[in-house]
């Protein structure tokens, strides 16, 4: 566990006045507060640090203890025992100005020096909404193709959610009330699930449309015929016109991806033909090609 220099974190001198501490905290909080930096983990971590620094330095008792024992925090237990009685008499709770603990845990350093912060909020009468949780859920393209249910384990609690077909890579859905518990009877926060959809080896997705490259043999491309292709919805037979050119693109209407929260509607599937030139030709085959070329 490393020593945390709270003065350095707030960018202030060790002789800073309470007003200077408050101003320094507010200046940095405006920069790193999670409300002003949504989905920014670095800003959140930085804010937790400055919030912790403010929690200590804005409280005269804690500041005194920190100044006295900061670097030698391992010996603070003895100090704690001696002061226990005094603390219980003088602890009058926090003010709104410093009450931003709901944004996250304090460091191990803080807890070793001042004890656990768990339950600290019980002294307050103000209700606070619980913290929002955010998690990433990885799906493959086939998972995202159909509406299905999944059970998530969020901080030990099992949550069963329905994932609608057509969800996009990077899309976020909100599960109301499944975030952190509220403080003093306040409402629970929300759970945000960010979907990460992995690439499919065959199908590429763009919005609601799917793209597929089909290796077409030379003879079918020249003479025409019929092929069977796999779509996400099953097999489909396709007619190949004679003299089909390399790179020809055909559209299969409504064989693409389902439209999100729009049941029964689908995008299109685009199939691009990649004509394969035969390899390892026999002498007879080569001869026939020569004949063709001389015609």
């Amino acid at each position: 566990m490393d020593f945390v220099d709270y003065y350095k974190l707030l960018g202030i001198d060790k002789k800073a006045t309470p007003k200077e501490i408050k101003n320094a905290f507010r200046r940095l909080a405006r920069k790193y507060h999670p409300d002003l930096n949504p989905n920014d983990k670095d800003a959140k971590r930085k804010f937790q640090q400055i919030n912790e620094a403010n929690e200590v330095l804005s409280d005269p008792e804690k500041r005194k203890k920190y100044d006295q024992y900061g670097k030698d925090w391992q010996h603070s237990d003895q100090f704690e025992k001696q002061k226990q009685y005094q603390w219980s008499q003088s602890d009058s709770g926090r003010t709104r100005d410093t009450d931003t603990q709901s944004y996250g845990d304090f460091s191990d350093f803080f807890e070793s020096l001042f004890g656990s912060t768990k339950g600290a909020g019980k002294r307050q009468q103000v209700k606070f909404r619980g913290e929002d949780y955010s998690t990433e859920l990885q799906l493959n393209l086939l998972d995202a193709y159909r509406t299905h249910k999944q059970t998530l384990n969020i901080n030990g609690e099992k949550i069963r959610i329905t994932i609608p077909a057509g969800i996009e890579n990077g899309q976020t859905i909100k599960i109301a009330g499944h975030g952190g518990k509220g403080i003093n009877g306040g409402p629970a926060g929300d759970l945000y699930i960010i979907f990460s959809i992995t690439d499919h080896p065959k199908f590429k997705r763009l919005g609601n449309d799917l793209y597929l490259t089909y290796d077409l043999d030379l003879y079918k491309a020249v003479l025409g015929g019929e092929i069977t292709i796999e779509t996400l919805d099953g097999k489909v037979k396709l007619k190949i016109k004679p003299e089909t050119q390399n790179g020809t693109k055909v559209k299969l209407k409504d064989k693409g991806f389902p439209v999100y929260k729009n049941e029964g509607r689908y995008g299109d599937l685009y199939v691009t033909y990649f004509i394969k030139i035969p390899t390892n030709l026999s002498e007879k085959e080569k001869g026939l090609f020569r004949q063709l070329s001389e015609l």
Partner: protein, 99 residues
């Protein structure tokens, strides 16, 4: 049928220890919507998160109402831009995978 949960503004202000005039200012700025039923003012539950965010900005970060309006507008812009980036990244991923 969608159920709207309403929270009484008087009760909300009392529990959060804030002035009712602050909520009125937010309403006048168009930052939140207030529903009035039989002369009692309420806010809808889905606005609670936004409202608590504005309270933190005002009381904890010392940002005035004009600042909150500006920040809220810019955060919305960031949200739109992040959505656009997501769409463009998905599109780019498609073309990169064809190479």
């Amino acid at each position: 049928m969608k159920t709207d949960y309403l929270i009484g503004i008087d009760e909300f202000c009392a529990s959060h220890n804030i002035e009712i005039s602050f909520i009125s200012s937010l309403q006048q700025s168009g930052l939140i919507e207030v529903t009035t039923i039989k002369e009692t003012n309420f806010i809808e539950q889905d606005q609670l998160k936004q409202l608590e965010k504005f309270i933190r900005m005002y009381y904890e970060l010392d940002i005035n109402l004009e600042g909150i309006e500006t920040i809220n507008y810019l955060l919305q812009r960031i949200g739109f831009l992040q959505d656009e980036i997501r769409t463009l990244r998905n599109r780019l991923r498609l073309y990169e995978s064809f190479e």
